[in-house]
């Protein structure tokens, strides 16, 4: 059976954090989210991007590999689970080794937590919460064929699931949607580029057509009409409003 995967498409993301809100509604970790939304560079742009566990396939998940306690288990369908809290010995190897920076250490609980692909849902055929709610479908859940059938690749988008970190190559269950010419994502190279101050690829807040979008406005002889001002009340000099009348709120009733 074809494997159902998550396709992350940052170009569709609007940074709304619906995925975060919905992840918190999961039965198994209510109140905490295992998915994260970054604004790439809010000063320059509203662009944003989701981060969640990619569920590494090959080599088998680095987080699980480095766990001396074998606390990170992989289910037969290839889902990398979060640490089994009865086995986790709190050394956080997984946190340091993950190339995507996904596992988080739960201090009070003393075990590692991360996305388990909504195992309570996906193991019974329901889509994960984040992909269900994502208003832009920047998070798409389905097989590769379903992704193609949904018409996602028509404008030259291509899903990529191979990542390079220096010499290390990782193939993951989940895909990131890239451009047509991309076969893999070399994250170290990108990080280096950013560190060297080469911001050529950093989006700034204009569109491709508009190198200078913000133009000063001025007057120009177009027909204008004037309207008598229609304020709703004659203005009185600025006055400080009186203090609100005291309010006694009844005792909250918990149901």
């Amino acid at each position: 059976m074809a494997v159902k995967r998550i396709f992350l498409d940052p170009s569709r993301c609007i940074g709304c954090r619906s995925c975060v809100a919905a992840c918190r509604e999961c039965d198994t970790h209510k109140g905490e989210s295992m998915i994260f939304i970054d604004y790439i560079n809010r000063e320059n742009t509203v662009a944003s991007s989701p981060t969640l566990c990619m569920h590494c396939e090959e080599p088998v998940a680095p987080c699980a590999q480095v766990c001396p306690a074998q606390a990170i288990l992989i289910s037969p369908d290839g889902v990398v689970q979060q640490a089994d809290e009865t086995r986790c010995i709190n050394i956080q190897n997984c946190v340091y080794v993950c190339p995507f920076g996904v596992p988080k250490f739960d201090g009070p609980g003393r075990f590692m937590r991360k996305c388990n692909l909504c195992y309570d849902r996906t193991s019974v055929g329901k889509p994960p919460m984040c992909t269900s709610v994502c208003p832009t479908q920047a998070l798409f859940y389905g097989t590769y064929e379903e992704w193609v059938q949904a018409g996602r690749g028509q404008q030259g988008a291509k899903p990529v699931n191979v990542f390079y970190f220096g010499q290390q190559r990782v193939r993951t269950r989940n895909y990131v949607v890239m451009r047509e010419q991309d076969d893999a994502l070399d994250l170290m190279a990108l990080a280096e580029e950013a560190q060297l101050g080469n911001l050529g690829n950093v989006p700034i807040s204009t569109t491709a057509q508009e190198s200078e979008a913000w133009v000063e406005a001025g007057n120009a002889g177009i027909p204008e009409r004037s309207a008598p001002p229609q304020p709703w009340a004659p203005r009185t000099p600025q006055e400080v409003p009186a203090q609100p009348v005291p309010v006694t709120t009844p005792e909250p009733v918990h149901h």
């Binding site: 992989i74 988080k104 569109t207």
Partner: protein, 759 residues
């Protein structure tokens, strides 16, 4: 919190091991008694959702994959809306100021509260006439309640003055639809987006205000549709638009005229469509020819080439959609702006076909239905005219009253404020509204509401407005009763009841009917359920423009919503309007020449910036519900001032500095958000907050002459570094805004990240 250990089957706890390949042991421990299919109560998209009910309480949300508009998708507000149902802030007892205005609001019995309301309203009406008591209603509630409020005002209180908060939201769109097209509804269903070659979004922050619509937009782009966005800010959808027109606030009608100018110049008009299906082209054409893009560009603060490119792209499309929203409508020429957009669509023949049309994205949950049900100042149910003798006679016959007893048109909501100050309106019954956040010029609004002799507010949380009330009645939330709403497409859908209101609170419709009974009009309000109201509403709208007669609760369920007009029981509804004719007697649409009207306040030496206001994705309207939802509040805890980096540098303002924005109405202090994604001459403040955090302290109450919508989107303002933080800053950490933006990778329970220490 730690993981819930109950997720495994009983007895498997010790032996499970995923490596063994046994059948999965995972199962949620959550005990859900039932899933109630219903809809989100927030914005006009009205997404389908399931509420999880356990032990008689709403405990969570489950995506509902079968509703065609959202197919399970929800925005962060939708995912958390269930948390308002059992919220500890719910009002569970009527509150009243027993000894006049200066006494505190204290819990009283329902009998005492309703008796006081009846007595005081009767006293005021006896002394000053029936019209001295007004009804100020809302649009974020069911059609049944919107209908009931109009009837309550006209029949039980017999006052002329009944209006609703849609005046602040939808009235410009209504004006444009009625002037140009003849029917006040979106021309197309949302799915038509997938048939459009070009999508032109002007004054609509789709990503934040109608998040689910973004998915349709992106699907259209997958198919190759081009996107044009006009907005003074880089909104999330503007980021990847093919053409972005960052126009100066308040210049929309000039831009639209210039685009039509180019369309004419380049021979892209649809002569056949104009001849056979429209009236008034020649006058419009003659006027628009005086708006060349080269000149208009200066007014809009755009480059002329961009306007020309946008007009060509739009004009050459086989099928193009225009989407507008409050950005274009919240202006003293809001109706003009809408008409100018319709002119463009009519001239290019973009109506009545798949993917061709004009659609205003309704903001409130039931913004569409609320403006059809007869709670507007000049309207009777079914978009009927209150001054039309036939309509009056028909509704009087449905209600069983004498036509002479049916009041005439009253003040729109925004004109109720000056009427309160003039002491013409002395009593007010308000439901589903929070003008102490939502009306402009908050100081004047506050004076007006305080000037009322007797002020009743029905709400389920103690809103900023409730604090000024003499009596507060605890009502119900959407999950506690059934009823219909009409979404931004004109699709009538139905909320289903999940639970009962908490003890002490009552259902809104029962409160209103009880009051009507005490006012001696019980025989006109003898409903046993919302369904009874709906059945009467169907008859009342029969034959009107918004004809609901053929819609039943069963049909809504069967078809996943019914688009009005639905005049007969056999009819399945009308998803796309204007396929054959427009809504005027001759079946033709109307062009209206629109001369550009500058904003009421232009920047000057004292107030050199343009201030615009709007929504953020985490809050809904006045924030009365969403500011009480912890997740949403955490994301956007208080207002901020968006300012361009260049302007900020000139003024010595750094990111997260406290800045004070001043206008002729007042001032507000909030942290600065220094970005490149806004025009350098423009400031933006989200409006969802109350008291000294209210952006509407600053906004201009100048009204659109026809439909009386205030100019929220443009006023002149000055900005400077604050001399001291505002009072509310003592409750927050000034770095919190920055931290909230940086808070990405941490679980709330883990505190500070524990990374490796490098020596």
């Amino acid at each position: 919190m730690s993981v819930d250990k109950g997720i495994f089957h009983e007895g498997q706890r010790d032996t499970y091991d995923f490596h063994e390949g046994k059948e999965t042991p995972w199962r949620s421990n959550e005990e859900v008694d039932r899933y109630v299919p219903t809809h989100c109560c927030y914005c006009g998209v009205q997404c389908g959702m399931n509420l999880k009910v356990s032990g008689g309480k709403v405990v969570g949300v489950e995506p509902r994959y079968d509703f065609p508009v959202n197919r399970g998708m929800l925005c962060p507000k939708g995912s958390t809306v269930y948390q308002t149902v059992n919220h500890p802030d719910r009002l569970t007892s009527p509150l009243m100021r027993r000894n006049g205005k200066n006494s505190p609001l204290e819990p009283v019995s329902w009998n005492e509260a309703l008796d006081a309301i009846t007595r005081r309203f009767r006293e005021i009406q006896g002394q000053h006439g029936n019209d001295a008591v007004a009804v100020y209603s809302g649009s974020s509630m069911t059609n049944e309640k919107c209908y009931l409020m109009g009837k309550f005002a006209r029949v039980a209180l017999q006052t002329r003055h009944c209006d609703y908060n849609g005046r602040l939201c939808m009235s410009s769109a209504t004006g444009a639809n009625e002037r140009s097209l003849g029917i006040d509804r979106a021309a197309n269903p949302i799915s038509d987006m997938l048939h459009a070659d070009v999508i032109f979004v002007i004054g609509a922050n789709v990503g934040e205000c109608f998040p689910i619509v973004t998915s349709w937009l992106w699907r259209a782009r997958d198919r190759g549709a081009k996107l044009i966005v006009a907005d003074p800010r880089q909104t999330p959808i503007a980021r990847t638009a093919d053409i972005f027109l960052p126009l100066r606030s308040g210049t929309d009608s000039a831009l639209l005229n210039a685009m039509l100018n180019v369309v004419i110049r380049e021979g892209l008009v649809d002569e056949e469509f104009i001849r056979s299906r429209t009236n008034g082209w020649d006058e419009t054409k003659a006027l628009v020819e005086q708006y060349p893009p080269e000149r208009v560009a200066k007014v809009c603060g755009l480059r002329p080439e961009t306007i020309i490119d946008a007009a060509r792209l739009y004009g050459r499309a086989k099928a193009a959609m225009i989407y507008t929203a409050r950005g274009l409508e919240h202006q003293s020429k809001g109706v003009d702006n809408g008409v100018a957009a319709v002119n463009l669509a009519l001239a290019t023949g973009n109506f009545g076909r798949p993917g061709a049309g004009y659609m205003t994205l309704t903001g409130q949950g039931n913004g569409q239905g609320g403006r059809e049900m007869g709670q507007k100042a000049s309207q009777l149910p079914g978009e009927r005219e209150i001054e039309n003798p036939e309509d009056r006679a028909y509704i009087a016959s449905v209600w069983g009253i004498d036509e002479k007893d049916l009041p005439h048109a009253g003040y729109p909501a925004t004109l109720m404020i000056p009427a309160m100050l003039r002491e013409e309106i002395r009593g007010c019954f308000m439901i589903c509204s929070n003008p102490m956040v939502s009306l402009p010029d908050q100081h004047t609004t506050e004076r007006a509401l305080r000037a009322l002799d007797f002020f009743v507010v029905c709400d389920f949380f103690l809103s900023e407005t409730c604090e000024l009330a003499d009596v507060v009645l605890p009502g119900n939330v959407w999950a506690e009763e059934e009823g219909t709403t009409t979404n931004l497409e004109g699709r009538v859908i139905k909320y289903n009841r999940a639970v009962d209101p908490p003890p002490g609170a009552r259902l809104d419709w029962q409160i209103v009917c009880d009051l009507a009974k005490r006012l001696g009009k019980g025989q006109y309000f003898a409903y046993k359920s919302p369904r009874d109201i709906f059945d009467e509403l169907r008859i009342a709208t029969k034959g009107g423009k918004a004809d609901y007669f053929g819609i039943t609760y069963e049909k809504i369920e069967l078809q996943n919503g019914v688009f009005w007009p639905c005049p007969t029981e056999e009819s399945q509804g009308t998803p796309r309007l204007y396929e054959e004719s427009f809504g005027f007697p001759d079946g033709k649409a109307k062009f209206h020449p629109i001369t550009y009207l500058p904003p009421a306040e232009e920047p000057d030496d004292d107030y050199p910036m343009v201030l615009t206001t709007g929504r953020v994705i985490y809050h809904y309207l006045s924030g009365n519900q969403t500011r009480r939802t912890p997740f949403l509040l955490e994301q956007a805890p208080y207002p901020w001032v968006e300012i361009h980096e260049r302007t900020a540098n000139e003024l010595g303002i750094r990111d997260s500095d406290w800045v004070t924005v001043r206008t002729r109405r007042g001032e507000l202090t909030a942290p600065a958000l220094v970005v490149k994604s806004i025009r350098p001459d423009t400031l933006f403040i989200p409006y969802h907050y109350g008291h000294t955090q209210a952006a509407n302290i600053l906004t201009n109450p100048v009204l659109e002459p026809m439909n009386k919508i205030p100019e929220y989107k443009v006023c002149a303002a000055a900005i400077a570094k604050a001399t001291q933080p505002p009072d509310w800053a003592k409750d927050v950490n000034p770095a919190q805004l920055r931290a909230a933006r940086g808070r990405r990778r941490r679980l709330p329970s883990t505190g500070e990240p524990q990374g490796p220490t490098v020596q």
